[in-house]
């Protein structure tokens, strides 16, 4: 009964969201409107994983505990769970279990491997403002990087456009399952994101062609000009929907403005590439001016300098554990950044990859950040640090009600590790997405291979 309540509430929430979207015309949610999700979970038998050390993603660590997965959902956690005879038993003694790992900043699919010119589809660098493009229309589902990430425990990710533009386009939440179409990967019920960018990249790309923006002040003027248009667009549609005249003429649709209006309606979440503390503060003021919420700053190399401000305003920071110095806006990067963002009450720290290599070992990135925090005296446990790559990115992607923690009723997105995931030596033994085994390190039958890689590697004993 408990379980039903939970699931029913989830379903109800989804339905309401869908309803509100049909009036706002922003198609901001993955199973409504065009290009809707066709994701169907793989079917798998019920599984109980026993005697594991479980990090739940809620801040809890359970030792010697069991977790039961059935019909794609997490049913129960506890010790000595009694299960039906048909449930597959997995002994995870000496092993660790975590929620499926979530990367909130990925370019898999849009900048796939191999890095051919023909597949470089990640950034529409033709105008500083391209909110009309959708990353999903560039996703190549055959990117071998998806398989590599799955072997690292990645069950969901946000695929974003690149950062050359002030408004880069819509980001899409994906389930990391093998599929022939991206619709088959689209996370059901997930809202779209809008990728925006601060700082050097837009300046460099457009300023270099002597077009706006050439400066940071040009960047901000560029954002404001678009938000003014978006507010007017939204107003026009709101008025249209509010009046009773059946014969009133429907306003002209504008793809770019549809995305921005979706942000102003709260349907689309802002993911903003921004390194410097002072620029993040500028953007928070910008968001106030136009009455929208920044969901997360990405890269946020200087977030530690304004950790209190971010926590106060409920803004997450998605960060690297140790990247720094490759450009001026990354020059003040410190390895305690993540731990310091996590510190204040309400602090929301996320470890992201932005890298086809990094996404394969996000657990190690979290481990490095945790260790540096502890070295600075911040006393962070694995049970807390695991949130940086599970619950926190799930919340910031708007899928926190469905995944990101191991709680009854949630999607059974689960990783079984061969040891402590906060170790360089740890490997994912099994990865479950919606209760289905999508990766097994010791069973080739559960190691998918993309169409592209078929036949590319003759046997090692050639």
């Amino acid at each position: 009964m408990m379980r039903c309540q939970r699931i029913c509430r989830l379903l109800l929430g989804t339905a309401l969201l869908t309803l509100s979207l049909t009036t706002s015309q922003t198609w901001a949610q993955s199973d409504a409107g065009p290009f809707a999700s066709t994701y169907t979970p793989l079917q798998g038998p019920a599984v109980v994983i026993r005697n594991a050390r479980i990090l739940t993603g809620t801040g809890e660590q359970m030792d010697n505990a069991d977790i039961l997965l059935r019909d794609g959902r997490i049913i129960e956690l506890g010790t000595g769970l009694e299960v039906d005879a048909d449930v597959i038993e997995i002994d995870a003694r000496e092993r660790w279990v975590t929620p499926g790992i979530i990367d909130i900043h990925s370019h898999l699919g849009v900048y796939p491997s191999p890095g051919t010119v023909s597949h470089a589809d990640g950034n529409e660098i033709t105008s500083p403002s391209t909110p009309e493009v959708w990353a999903e229309h560039s996703v190549w589902p055959q990117d071998p990087g998806f398989e590599a990430a799955r072997a690292g425990g990645i069950t969901s990710m946000l695929a974003l456009p690149g950062s050359a533009n002030l408004f880069g386009g819509r980001a899409v939440a994906l389930k990391n399952v093998p599929a022939t179409t991206y619709q088959g990967m689209k996370f059901p019920g997930a809202p779209h994101g809008l990728k925006m960018a601060c700082g050097e990249n837009p300046k460099r790309v457009y300023g270099g062609k002597s077009t706006a923006p050439m400066t940071r002040m040009g960047n901000v003027a560029g954002y404001r000009a678009q938000w003014i248009k978006a507010a007017a667009y939204k107003d026009k549609w709101d008025k249209y929907h509010a009046q009773d005249d059946q014969d009133a003429e429907q306003p002209q649709r504008d793809l770019a403005m549809e995305t921005l209006a979706g942000v102003l309606n709260g349907d689309i979440l802002i993911h903003m590439h921004c390194y410097r503390a002072d620029e993040m503060a500028t953007i928070l003021d910008l968001a106030k001016e136009f009455d929208y919420q920044v969901t997360a700053f990405h890269h946020a190399v200087e977030a530690y300098k304004i950790a209190g401000l971010l926590a106060e305003q409920g803004v997450c920071a998605a960060m690297w554990a140790d990247w720094w110095g490759f450009k001026m806006e990354a020059y003040d990067g410190i390895q305690e950044n993540i731990a310091l963002v996590d510190r204040p009450d309400g602090g929301c720290a996320i470890v992201h990859s932005d890298s086809a290599e990094g996404i394969q070992r996000l657990n190690q990135e979290a481990a490095k950040a945790m260790a540096r925090g502890n070295r600075a005296g911040l006393d962070i446990t694995p049970a807390e640090a695991i949130k940086w790559i599970t619950a926190n990115p799930a919340e910031a992607m708007g899928i926190g009600a469905q995944t990101g923690t191991l709680e009854a009723g949630k999607m059974a997105d689960v990783v079984v590790w061969n040891g402590n995931p906060f170790s360089v030596y740890a490997l994912a033994d099994q990865v479950y997405v919606d209760g289905a085994l999508v990766y097994d390190r010791s069973d080739a039958a559960h190691q998918a291979i993309s169409d592209f890689m078929l036949g590319q590697q003759p046997a090692a004993g050639e």
Partner: protein, 421 residues
């Protein structure tokens, strides 16, 4: 000028002679020379060298004593190929010196370009990595941006030898082959061998004999390349198995001393590499088919090469994050490489590859006193360097990053943060 050199050399020798001796007591010493670590062992650093390794060593009167309490002591780590000291902010051209774009003709090469001349020991980037246990690196002449197949010369440098960093014997010529370099060979990799053969012939000819031929080298460049043909190390960036085999043929023909860099598909030709005694410097995290030259990339490349008897070293952290080299080694272990070989791949093995076998990359009396004391397993991501010595001197741990941390760590400081320093 010569006078100045003598003075600075004397100053340096004086500094190392005057450095306080250090006795590290009770460490678990990973010598990188023998497989088994030495338990509860003392190491004495004096006059820039490791003076003694053993049990219950007596400390000189003026020695600083460090109680290791069983923690791991390793040789100072090799960063791989980086721009430490020659690259401050990657996207700010004025601060980056690792390539030359002087060539004005397709195929023109400048082997006389020597990146080590740009080395700045005061770089904050170098400081940040040194505090993490990185004590030396190989400066590479960046081939791809330089406008030719030959990028120029680099060398191993110590991060603790001030303005005279080059470790003698390590100078190397950097070459790039394969798809990455096809833009410099008329778009075909086949032409790369043609161009290198032409350069080799030119280097070996008297100037007057090639007057009417299209020149690829300056007079100076000819002399330099001739030196590398006679007795010098060629570090060649190449990934595809077939390219590696072509390169082995070229090296055999001209009797070149070869090191493979990258080598994503090196595991496929491990036997040939082993027979030719050609080592490989690789990134153990390169498992994606980043290009069509790397379709065979895999996580156990290091393990397979090592099993076949190929000497390996690691690279891949880049300049700013050179400290990532430990994580790269640790991942290689997770994918089948022996732990001892992984440690050697960031200490002893690169020293042997780079002509520094005499005194670098190991803990033994007479070796360079470059050692690191770790908080835990040196290859583990949650461990960190607690003490680092180069030539017996403790390195600065109060880096720019540390100072930024200390400025922003207090939650409600009494003074404005800009006065915390």
């Amino acid at each position: 000028m010569r006078y100045f050199l003598i003075i600075s050399l004397a100053t340096m020798l004086a500094a190392s002679a005057l450095a306080q001796p250090v006795l590290i007591r009770g460490a678990t010493v990973h010598t990188a020379l023998e497989r088994q670590p030495l338990q509860n062992t003392d190491v004495l650093l004096n006059n820039g060298k490791i003076a003694a390794v053993g049990e219950s060593l007596r400390a000189p009167d003026n020695a600083r004593i460090i109680e290791a309490g069983g923690r791991a002591l390793t040789p100072g780590l090799f960063a791989g190929i980086t721009g430490l000291g020659i690259e401050e902010v990657s996207l700010e051209e004025d601060t980056v010196d690792n390539s030359v774009a002087l060539t004005n003709e397709l195929g023109m090469m400048r082997p006389e370009f020597d990146v080590t001349l740009a080395f700045n020991p005061l770089s904050a980037v170098l400081d940040a990595n040194r505090a993490e246990g990185i004590t030396w690196t190989l400066l590479g002449a960046n081939v791809v941006q330089s406008g030719g197949l030959i990028g120029g010369q680099g060398a191993a440098v110590s991060l603790g030898h001030g303005f005279s960093p080059v470790l003698e014997g390590s100078r190397s010529l950097f070459v790039n082959l394969g798809a990455d370099a096809a833009q410099f060979s008329g778009t075909s990799r086949a032409a790369q061998y043609m161009l290198i053969e032409q350069a080799i012939r030119e280097a070996g000819s008297a100037p007057r004999n090639i007057e009417f031929e299209r020149r690829m080298l300056t007079l100076t460049g000819r002399g330099i390349l001739a030196r590398y043909l006679k007795d010098g190390r060629w570090i060649v960036d190449v990934d595809r198995a077939s390219d590696i085999l072509q390169l082995l043929r070229l090296a055999d023909k001209h009797d070149l001393q070869l090191v493979i860099l990258g080598g994503s598909e090196a595991w496929r030709v491990a036997t040939q590499l082993s027979e030719a005694k050609v080592p490989v410097i690789l990134n153990a995290l390169d498992n994606l088919p980043g290009s069509f030259d790397q379709l065979g990339a895999r996580l156990d490349n290091a393990a397979l090469l090592s099993e076949a008897g190929v000497r390996i070293a690691f690279t891949g952290g880049g300049t700013h994050n050179a400290r990532k080299i430990r994580q790269i080694a640790g991942n290689a272990v997770a994918h089948g490489l022996d732990w001892y070989i992984a440690l050697r791949a960031i200490t002893r093995s690169p020293a042997i590859m780079l002509g520094l076998a005499d005194n670098t990359g190991g803990i033994r009396a007479g070796f360079r006193a470059d050692v690191v004391l770790w908080s835990g397993d040196p290859l583990e991501v949650t461990s960190y360097a607690e003490n680092v010595w180069i030539a017996g001197r403790p390195v600065n741990m109060d880096t720019r990053q540390q100072q930024l941390l200390e400025r922003y760590l207090p939650e409600n400081p009494d003074t404005p943060r800009h006065y915390i320093k």
